[in-house]
Protein backbone atom coordinates (compact mmCIF):
# COMPACT_ATOMS: atom_id res chain seq x y z
CA UNK A 1 0.00 0.00 0.00
CA UNK A 2 1.25 3.46 -0.91
CA UNK A 3 0.95 6.91 0.63
CA UNK A 4 -1.29 8.09 -2.23
CA UNK A 5 -3.82 5.36 -1.37
CA UNK A 6 -4.43 6.66 2.16
CA UNK A 7 -3.66 10.37 2.12
CA UNK A 8 -6.19 13.18 2.15
CA UNK A 9 -6.16 14.84 -1.24
CA UNK A 10 -5.64 18.60 -1.18
CA UNK A 11 -4.34 20.82 1.62
CA UNK A 12 -5.60 23.91 3.38
CA UNK A 13 -2.93 26.56 3.28
CA UNK A 14 -2.17 30.08 4.44
CA UNK A 15 0.65 32.55 3.82
CA UNK A 16 3.36 33.35 6.36
CA UNK A 17 2.03 36.92 6.63
CA UNK A 18 -1.49 35.82 7.63
CA UNK A 19 -2.40 36.43 11.25
CA UNK A 20 -2.71 33.58 13.75
CA UNK A 21 -6.26 34.79 14.39
CA UNK A 22 -7.18 33.81 10.81
CA UNK A 23 -5.44 30.46 11.21
CA UNK A 24 -7.37 29.75 14.45
CA UNK A 25 -10.63 30.66 12.71
CA UNK A 26 -9.86 28.33 9.80
CA UNK A 27 -9.08 25.47 12.17
CA UNK A 28 -12.21 26.08 14.24
CA UNK A 29 -14.70 26.57 11.41
CA UNK A 30 -13.51 23.76 9.17
CA UNK A 31 -12.25 21.33 11.84
CA UNK A 32 -8.75 21.08 10.36
CA UNK A 33 -5.97 19.81 12.58
CA UNK A 34 -3.16 21.30 10.53
CA UNK A 35 -2.68 24.21 8.15
CA UNK A 36 0.15 24.26 5.62
CA UNK A 37 2.10 27.52 5.37
CA UNK A 38 3.14 28.28 1.78
CA UNK A 39 5.15 31.03 0.12
CA UNK A 40 3.94 33.20 -2.76
CA UNK A 41 4.86 30.46 -5.26
CA UNK A 42 2.73 27.92 -3.41
CA UNK A 43 5.71 25.95 -2.05
CA UNK A 44 5.63 24.39 1.42
CA UNK A 45 7.36 26.46 4.11
CA UNK A 46 5.97 25.09 7.30
CA UNK A 47 3.03 23.59 9.13
CA UNK A 48 0.83 24.83 11.98
CA UNK A 49 -0.96 22.26 14.10
CA UNK A 50 -2.68 22.55 17.49
CA UNK A 51 0.67 22.10 19.21
CA UNK A 52 2.03 25.28 17.66
CA UNK A 53 -1.18 27.16 18.49
CA UNK A 54 -1.63 26.23 22.15
CA UNK A 55 1.34 28.12 23.68
CA UNK A 56 -0.26 31.37 22.45
CA UNK A 57 -3.53 30.84 24.33
CA UNK A 58 -3.45 34.07 26.32
CA UNK A 59 -1.85 36.26 23.63
CA UNK A 60 -3.42 38.66 21.15
CA UNK A 61 -3.58 36.53 18.02
CA UNK A 62 -4.01 39.54 15.71
CA UNK A 63 -0.45 40.59 16.43
CA UNK A 64 1.10 37.22 15.62
CA UNK A 65 1.73 35.94 12.11
CA UNK A 66 1.68 32.37 10.84
CA UNK A 67 5.35 32.66 9.93
CA UNK A 68 6.29 33.39 13.54
CA UNK A 69 4.68 30.33 15.06
CA UNK A 70 4.93 27.74 12.26
CA UNK A 71 7.14 24.69 12.48
CA UNK A 72 9.54 24.69 9.51
CA UNK A 73 8.86 21.71 7.29
CA UNK A 74 11.65 20.14 5.29
CA UNK A 75 10.55 16.56 4.63
CA UNK A 76 9.53 15.71 1.09
CA UNK A 77 7.12 12.79 1.13
CA UNK A 78 6.51 11.23 -2.25
CA UNK A 79 3.00 9.89 -3.00
CA UNK A 80 4.65 6.65 -4.17
CA UNK A 81 6.30 5.95 -0.79
CA UNK A 82 5.17 2.83 1.01
CA UNK A 83 3.01 3.32 4.12
CA UNK A 84 5.69 1.59 6.23
CA UNK A 85 8.22 4.17 5.11
CA UNK A 86 5.87 7.05 5.98
CA UNK A 87 5.09 5.57 9.40
CA UNK A 88 8.81 5.21 10.07
CA UNK A 89 9.28 8.94 9.35
CA UNK A 90 6.30 9.80 11.59
CA UNK A 91 7.71 7.80 14.49
CA UNK A 92 11.29 8.97 14.14
CA UNK A 93 10.55 12.68 13.76
CA UNK A 94 7.28 12.75 15.74
CA UNK A 95 5.54 14.41 12.78
CA UNK A 96 2.05 12.96 12.73
CA UNK A 97 0.94 15.04 9.75
CA UNK A 98 3.08 14.43 6.68
CA UNK A 99 2.70 16.85 3.79
CA UNK A 100 2.80 14.92 0.52
CA UNK A 101 4.44 16.81 -2.35
CA UNK A 102 4.01 16.24 -6.07
CA UNK A 103 7.35 15.36 -7.69
CA UNK A 104 5.95 16.06 -11.17
CA UNK A 105 4.86 19.65 -10.57
CA UNK A 106 7.60 20.86 -8.25
CA UNK A 107 9.51 19.38 -5.38
CA UNK A 108 7.70 21.44 -2.73
CA UNK A 109 4.21 21.64 -4.19
CA UNK A 110 1.74 20.17 -1.63
CA UNK A 111 -0.88 17.75 -2.96
CA UNK A 112 -2.17 16.12 0.22
CA UNK A 113 -1.68 15.21 3.86
CA UNK A 114 -1.16 11.83 5.46
CA UNK A 115 -2.07 11.84 9.15
CA UNK A 116 -2.00 9.13 11.81
CA UNK A 117 -5.82 9.05 11.63
CA UNK A 118 -5.63 7.97 7.98
CA UNK A 119 -3.37 5.07 8.97
CA UNK A 120 -5.71 4.10 11.84
CA UNK A 121 -8.64 4.08 9.41
CA UNK A 122 -6.73 1.62 7.24
CA UNK A 123 -5.88 -0.52 10.31
CA UNK A 124 -9.55 -0.67 11.36
CA UNK A 125 -10.46 -2.56 8.16
CA UNK A 126 -13.73 -0.63 7.98
CA UNK A 127 -14.51 -0.07 4.36
CA UNK A 128 -17.63 2.08 4.63
CA UNK A 129 -18.31 5.34 6.41
CA UNK A 130 -19.15 6.04 10.04
CA UNK A 131 -22.93 5.95 9.72
CA UNK A 132 -22.95 2.70 7.77
CA UNK A 133 -20.90 1.14 10.59
CA UNK A 134 -23.27 2.46 13.24
CA UNK A 135 -26.20 0.87 11.40
CA UNK A 136 -24.43 -2.48 11.57
CA UNK A 137 -24.18 -2.41 15.37
CA UNK A 138 -26.62 -5.03 16.59
CA UNK A 139 -29.29 -3.99 19.07
CA UNK A 140 -31.52 -6.55 20.69
CA UNK A 141 -34.36 -4.07 21.09
CA UNK A 142 -34.73 -3.58 17.33
CA UNK A 143 -35.56 -7.23 16.75
CA UNK A 144 -39.34 -7.77 16.54
Amino acid sequence: MKVCDLMHKGVISCYAEDTVKDVARMMDQHHFRSIVVVNERGEVWGIISFREMMPHYSKNLSQLTAGEIMRPYKIEVDPQWSIENAIDVMRRLRYYHLIVVDPHVGTKWPVGILSSSDVVKCMSNLTSGRYEQMLKIRRETTEP
Partner: protein, 138 residues
Protein backbone atom coordinates in the same frame (compact mmCIF):
# COMPACT_ATOMS: atom_id res chain seq x y z
CA UNK B 1 -12.50 34.10 29.52
CA UNK B 2 -12.34 30.46 30.46
CA UNK B 3 -9.74 29.85 33.12
CA UNK B 4 -10.16 26.33 34.40
CA UNK B 5 -9.99 22.92 32.78
CA UNK B 6 -13.58 22.07 33.80
CA UNK B 7 -14.90 25.00 31.73
CA UNK B 8 -13.40 23.70 28.49
CA UNK B 9 -13.19 19.92 28.88
CA UNK B 10 -15.59 17.50 27.21
CA UNK B 11 -17.45 15.36 29.70
CA UNK B 12 -17.24 11.60 29.31
CA UNK B 13 -14.65 9.55 27.43
CA UNK B 14 -14.36 6.65 25.01
CA UNK B 15 -12.81 3.76 26.92
CA UNK B 16 -11.44 0.27 26.40
CA UNK B 17 -9.78 -2.36 28.57
CA UNK B 18 -6.17 -3.57 28.64
CA UNK B 19 -7.10 -6.70 26.72
CA UNK B 20 -8.92 -4.95 23.87
CA UNK B 21 -7.25 -5.75 20.55
CA UNK B 22 -5.64 -3.03 18.46
CA UNK B 23 -8.08 -3.79 15.63
CA UNK B 24 -11.01 -3.10 17.97
CA UNK B 25 -9.44 0.11 19.23
CA UNK B 26 -8.89 1.28 15.64
CA UNK B 27 -12.55 0.56 14.89
CA UNK B 28 -13.68 2.38 18.06
CA UNK B 29 -11.65 5.42 16.95
CA UNK B 30 -13.02 5.41 13.39
CA UNK B 31 -16.66 4.84 14.33
CA UNK B 32 -16.62 7.43 17.13
CA UNK B 33 -14.43 9.85 15.15
CA UNK B 34 -11.91 10.28 17.95
CA UNK B 35 -8.13 10.06 18.10
CA UNK B 36 -7.80 8.50 21.55
CA UNK B 37 -9.12 5.71 23.73
CA UNK B 38 -8.76 5.77 27.53
CA UNK B 39 -7.67 2.39 28.93
CA UNK B 40 -9.44 1.48 32.18
CA UNK B 41 -9.31 -1.53 34.50
CA UNK B 42 -12.18 -3.51 36.03
CA UNK B 43 -12.63 -0.90 38.75
CA UNK B 44 -13.08 1.78 36.08
CA UNK B 45 -9.80 3.41 37.05
CA UNK B 46 -7.62 5.01 34.39
CA UNK B 47 -4.48 3.08 33.63
CA UNK B 48 -3.46 4.60 30.33
CA UNK B 49 -4.42 6.24 27.08
CA UNK B 50 -3.95 5.00 23.54
CA UNK B 51 -3.82 7.69 20.86
CA UNK B 52 -3.88 7.42 17.08
CA UNK B 53 -0.25 8.54 17.10
CA UNK B 54 0.82 5.62 19.31
CA UNK B 55 -1.40 3.17 17.45
CA UNK B 56 0.51 3.51 14.17
CA UNK B 57 3.53 1.76 15.73
CA UNK B 58 1.61 -1.49 15.41
CA UNK B 59 1.03 -1.19 11.66
CA UNK B 60 2.06 -4.45 10.04
CA UNK B 61 1.64 -6.58 13.20
CA UNK B 62 -1.23 -8.99 13.82
CA UNK B 63 -3.77 -6.42 14.97
CA UNK B 64 -6.20 -8.99 16.35
CA UNK B 65 -3.52 -10.49 18.59
CA UNK B 66 -1.83 -7.27 19.74
CA UNK B 67 -3.57 -5.78 22.78
CA UNK B 68 -3.82 -2.31 24.27
CA UNK B 69 -1.51 -3.33 27.13
CA UNK B 70 1.27 -4.05 24.61
CA UNK B 71 1.31 -0.45 23.40
CA UNK B 72 1.22 1.02 26.88
CA UNK B 73 4.13 -1.15 27.98
CA UNK B 74 6.17 -0.59 24.81
CA UNK B 75 5.77 3.16 24.89
CA UNK B 76 6.36 3.30 28.62
CA UNK B 77 3.43 5.70 28.40
CA UNK B 78 2.54 7.33 31.64
CA UNK B 79 -0.99 8.46 32.23
CA UNK B 80 -1.23 12.15 31.69
CA UNK B 81 -4.01 13.39 33.89
CA UNK B 82 -5.33 16.57 35.44
CA UNK B 83 -8.36 17.69 37.42
CA UNK B 84 -11.17 20.10 36.64
CA UNK B 85 -9.85 22.67 39.09
CA UNK B 86 -6.49 23.00 37.34
CA UNK B 87 -5.94 26.38 35.63
CA UNK B 88 -6.03 26.10 31.83
CA UNK B 89 -2.62 27.71 31.41
CA UNK B 90 -1.11 25.02 33.63
CA UNK B 91 -2.81 22.25 31.63
CA UNK B 92 -1.58 23.83 28.37
CA UNK B 93 1.95 23.87 29.78
CA UNK B 94 1.75 20.13 30.52
CA UNK B 95 0.45 19.38 27.01
CA UNK B 96 3.15 21.52 25.45
CA UNK B 97 5.94 20.00 27.54
CA UNK B 98 4.87 16.41 26.92
CA UNK B 99 3.89 17.09 23.29
CA UNK B 100 0.43 15.57 23.64
CA UNK B 101 -2.93 16.65 22.26
CA UNK B 102 -5.22 15.67 25.12
CA UNK B 103 -5.30 15.37 28.89
CA UNK B 104 -7.50 12.97 30.83
CA UNK B 105 -9.51 14.85 33.47
CA UNK B 106 -10.06 12.90 36.68
CA UNK B 107 -12.53 13.54 39.48
CA UNK B 108 -11.33 16.12 41.99
CA UNK B 109 -11.29 13.67 44.88
CA UNK B 110 -7.62 12.71 45.43
CA UNK B 111 -8.38 9.00 45.96
CA UNK B 112 -10.50 8.73 42.84
CA UNK B 113 -9.11 7.60 39.49
CA UNK B 114 -12.44 7.77 37.66
CA UNK B 115 -12.55 9.60 34.32
CA UNK B 116 -14.55 12.81 34.31
CA UNK B 117 -13.71 13.93 30.78
CA UNK B 118 -10.98 14.89 28.32
CA UNK B 119 -9.37 18.23 27.55
CA UNK B 120 -8.56 18.47 23.84
CA UNK B 121 -6.11 20.78 22.12
CA UNK B 122 -8.78 21.31 19.42
CA UNK B 123 -11.14 22.82 22.03
CA UNK B 124 -8.37 25.11 23.26
CA UNK B 125 -7.78 26.42 19.72
CA UNK B 126 -11.55 26.79 19.17
CA UNK B 127 -11.75 28.85 22.38
CA UNK B 128 -8.86 31.03 21.15
CA UNK B 129 -10.74 31.72 17.89
CA UNK B 130 -14.00 32.45 19.73
CA UNK B 131 -12.33 34.82 22.15
CA UNK B 132 -10.70 36.78 19.34
CA UNK B 133 -14.05 37.23 17.58
CA UNK B 134 -15.75 38.32 20.79
CA UNK B 135 -12.95 40.83 21.33
CA UNK B 136 -13.52 42.25 17.84
CA UNK B 137 -17.28 42.63 18.38
CA UNK B 138 -16.89 44.38 21.71
Amino acid sequence: MKEYVRQLMRRGAITCSETTSIRDIAQIMVVNQVRYCVVINNEHEVIGIVSADSLICTFGLDLDETKAQDIIVKDKRRVFTTTGKTPLTEAIDIMKRLKIGHLVVLADHPASRAVLGILFSSDIVAEMARRQEEGEKS
